[in-house]
C-alpha cells in the first residue's frame, strides 16, 4: 500500500478505538480471573473422569422404569396445582401493587410508588426455590409452602409487566370516560381495565407456564410436587426412575407451553 499521507477510512476515531480495545482487555481479564477462581475450587479429577461417569449413568438410565409412572400421577397433579393456585394467588396480590407502581395510577408518587417498586424488586430477585426454602422452614413441608413460594416469586413478575402495560395505556380513552362524569372506580373499570386486559391475560398465562417449570423442583426442598420423587430417586441412585420423571417433566412443560402459546395467540 503506497503511503500517500491521506487518511484512510476508519470506523472509529483513534481515542474511541483505544477505549474499545481497553474495554475488551478489561472484559477478558475479568473473565480469566473469574475462570481461575472457579478452577481453583474445582476438583479436576472428577471433571477429567466425567466421560466415564456420564457413560455409566447413561447406561443405567436405560431402559426407563415405566411402571414407576403409576406413582407419579399424584405428585404431578400436586405440581400443576402448585403452579395454578400459586399464580392465582399472586394475581390477587400483584394487581394492587401494579396499580400502585404505575406512574399514572399511583395514589402517591413519593411514598407508595417506591414502596410498590421495592416489593416488586424483592419478589423478583429471590428465586421461588429460595422462597420455598424459607417457607418450608416456617410452615413445614408440603404443598402449601410450594403455593406460597410460587406466588411470592410471581408477584414481582406479574406486577412489573402489568404496571408497564398500565403506563402505556392510551390516555384519551381515560379522558373520554372522565368527561362523562364517571367516578374514580368507574374510570378504572371502563377507561383503564379494558385497555390492559389482553396484556394482563397474556402475562398471567405466561407466568403460569413458567411456574409449571419452577414447581417441578420445589419438592427438592420439601415444598411438594414431583421434585420430591426426583430427590428420593436420586438419593437411592434409581436412575431408571429418574429417566421416567425427566420424561414426564418434559412432557408437562411442553404441554403447558403449548397451552400458553395457544391462549396468548387467541388473545393477541
Amino acid at each position: 500500500m503506497p503511503v500517500t499521507g491521506e487518511k484512510g477510512w476508519q470506523r472509529r476515531t483513534t481515542p474511541v478505538q483505544l477505549a474499545v480495545w481497553f474495554g475488551w482487555l478489561l472484559g477478558v481479564a475479568l473473565f480469566v480471573w473469574c475462570w481461575q477462581t472457579i478452577s481453583a475450587a474445582t476438583t479436576w479429577f472428577f471433571v477429567t473422569d466425567s466421560p466415564r461417569v456420564i457413560a455409566d449413568i447413561g447406561g443405567r438410565m436405560f431402559p426407563p422404569a415405566w411402571s414407576y409412572l403409576d406413582k407419579l400421577w399424584q405428585p404431578m397433579w400436586d405440581t400443576i396445582n402448585i403452579a395454578t393456585l400459586g399464580t392465582l394467588m399472586a394475581m390477587f396480590m400483584a394487581v394492587p401493587v401494579a396499580f400502585m407502581a404505575a406512574r399514572n395510577t399511583t395514589p402517591n408518587a413519593y411514598v407508595i410508588r417506591p414502596l410498590a417498586l421495592l416489593i416488586i424488586v424483592s419478589s423478583r430477585s429471590i428465586n421461588s426455590l429460595i422462597w420455598a426454602l424459607l417457607l418450608v422452614a416456617i410452615m413445614g413441608p408440603g404443598v402449601l409452602a410450594g403455593i406460597f413460594a410460587i406466588s411470592l416469586r410471581s408477584i414481582g413478575f406479574i406486577a412489573k409487566l402489568l404496571y408497564e402495560a398500565i403506563e402505556e395505556i392510551d390516555h384519551t380513552q381515560v379522558e373520554a370516560i372522565e368527561t362523562t362524569g364517571a367516578g374514580r372506580a368507574q374510570v378504572m373499570a371502563w377507561g383503564i381495565v379494558p385497555q390492559i386486559m389482553p396484556a394482563f391475560a397474556g402475562i398471567m398465562v405466561f407466568r403460569w407456564d413458567i411456574n409449571i417449570r419452577e414447581s417441578t423442583v420445589l419438592g427438592l426442598v420439601g415444598a411438594g410436587g414431583i421434585g420430591l420423587q426426583l430427590q428420593s430417586s436420586l438419593n437411592v441412585l434409581a436412575w431408571p426412575q429418574v429417566t421416567v420423571i425427566l420424561v414426564l417433566i418434559i412432557a408437562t412443560v411442553l404441554f403447558s407451553e403449548w397451552v400458553s402459546a395457544r391462549v396468548r395467540h387467541a388473545i393477541i
Binding site: 475479568l30 473473565f31 480471573w33 473469574c34 475462570w35 477462581t37 472457579i38 478452577s39 475450587a41 474445582t42 476438583t43 472428577f46 471433571v47 466425567s50 461417569v53 456420564i54 449413568i57 397433579w77 400436586d78 396445582n81 395454578t84 393456585l85 392465582l88 424488586v121 424483592s122 423478583r124 430477585s125 429471590i126 428465586n127 426455590l129 429460595i130 426454602l133 424459607l134 422452614a137 416456617i138 410452615m139 413445614g140 408440603g142 404443598v143 402449601l144 403455593i147 371502563w190 379494558p194 386486559m197 417449570r213 419452577e214 417441578t216 423442583v217 427438592l220 426442598v221 426426583l230 436420586l234 425427566l246 417433566i249 418434559i250 412443560v253 411442553l254
Partner: protein, 270 residues
C-alpha cells in the same frame, strides 16, 4: 302511554364478553371452577404445624430489621465471590455457545435438518429448570462451582439462542441481500448483512441474562453446585434467620444495581 309499550325493553349497558359463544364461556368457567375445587380439595395442610411456624415467620421478618452480616461474613463473602464468578464465566460461555445455535435455529439461514437439531437443543435447555440440570451436572462433574457454571451456560443457550433466533428471523432481508449482491462470502454476509441488525438486541439480551444468571446462581448452590445458595441453605437449616436475611438483602441489592446498570447500557445501545 301506549308509545312506551312499543319501546324495546331497556336494560343497563353491559360490555361485550371476551368469549362470544355463551356455551363455551360457561363451559370454560364451570370447568375451571370444578378444577379449582378439586385442586384445593387435594391440598393436605397440617394446620397445627403452620400455626406453630408463625412464630418463626415473625422471627424471620424481624431478622430483616437487624440482619447479621458479621458472624458468618467469611462464608457469605466466599459464596458471593463464587456466585459472581460463576455468573461472569457462564454468561460469556453461554453467549459464545448460543450464537452458533441461534444461527442454526433461524429458519431463514439454516437448512431444515440443522434447524430442527438446534431447535431441539433449545427446547431441551428450556424444558428443565436450572436446578434439575444442576443435579445432573453435579452427579457428572462433582460438587463445586464448575457444575454450576456449566448449568448456567446450558440454561443461557435456551434463553439467548431462542430470542436471538427469533430476532434473526425478523431481519430486513434487503440489507442482507445487498451484501450478497456485492459478492460477499457467507461469513461476510453474516458479519455485514445480519450481525449489525441483531447486535443491539444481542447486547440487551446478554445483559438481561447476566442478571438472570446471577439470580439463578443463588439457587444452584442448594443442590451443591457452588455459589451463595449453599450458604443460604445452611443458614435456613440452622434457623439462623439473621444471617439468611443478610444474604437475601445482599442478593436484592446486587440485583437492583445490576438491573439499573443494564438499563443504562441498554438505553445507550438502542
Amino acid at each position: 302511554m301506549t308509545a312506551t309499550a312499543a319501546m324495546p325493553e331497556l336494560r343497563p349497558w353491559r360490555g361485550r364478553p371476551v368469549i362470544a359463544d355463551p356455551r363455551v364461556r360457561w363451559g370454560l368457567g364451570i370447568g375451571f371452577a370444578l378444577y379449582l375445587a378439586a385442586a384445593i380439595g387435594t391440598i393436605d395442610v397440617n394446620w397445627q404445624r403452620v400455626w406453630e411456624g408463625l412464630d418463626r415467620g415473625w422471627a424471620f421478618l424481624a431478622a430483616f430489621g437487624e440482619p447479621d452480616f458479621i458472624s458468618r461474613w467469611r462464608d457469605i463473602s466466599e459464596g458471593l465471590i463464587e456466585s459472581l464468578t460463576m455468573t461472569v464465566v457462564s454468561t460469556a460461555l453461554g453467549i459464545a455457545l448460543s450464537v452458533p445455535v441461534a444461527l442454526g435455529a433461524a429458519r431463514n439461514l439454516a437448512p431444515l435438518p440443522v434447524y430442527l437439531f438446534c431447535r431441539g437443543i433449545i427446547t431441551l435447555s428450556r424444558s428443565f429448570q436450572e436446578v434439575i440440570v444442576a443435579i445432573l451436572f453435579v452427579a457428572m462433574f462433582g460438587f463445586g462451582p464448575f457444575a454450576g457454571m456449566l448449568t448456567l451456560s446450558f440454561a443461557t443457550i435456551g434463553f439467548l439462542a431462542k430470542l436471538l433466533a427469533e430476532d434473526i428471523e425478523d431481519i430486513d432481508r434487503s440489507q442482507a441481500e445487498a451484501i450478497q449482491a456485492t459478492g460477499g462470502s457467507w461469513l461476510q454476509w453474516l458479519n455485514y448483512g445480519i450481525q449489525p441488525q441483531v447486535m443491539p438486541r444481542l447486547i440487551g439480551l446478554s445483559l438481561y441474562r447476566l442478571d438472570i444468571n446471577f439470580r439463578e446462581s443463588a439457587v444452584v448452590g442448594i443442590v451443591g453446585a457452588g455459589g451463595i445458595g449453599a450458604t443460604l441453605n445452611t443458614a435456613f437449616d440452622r434457623y439462623e434467620f439473621d444471617t439468611a436475611a443478610a444474604i437475601l438483602i445482599i442478593i436484592i441489592a446486587i440485583v437492583m444495581v445490576a438491573e439499573y446498570a443494564s438499563g443504562l447500557i441498554r438505553q445507550r445501545v438502542q
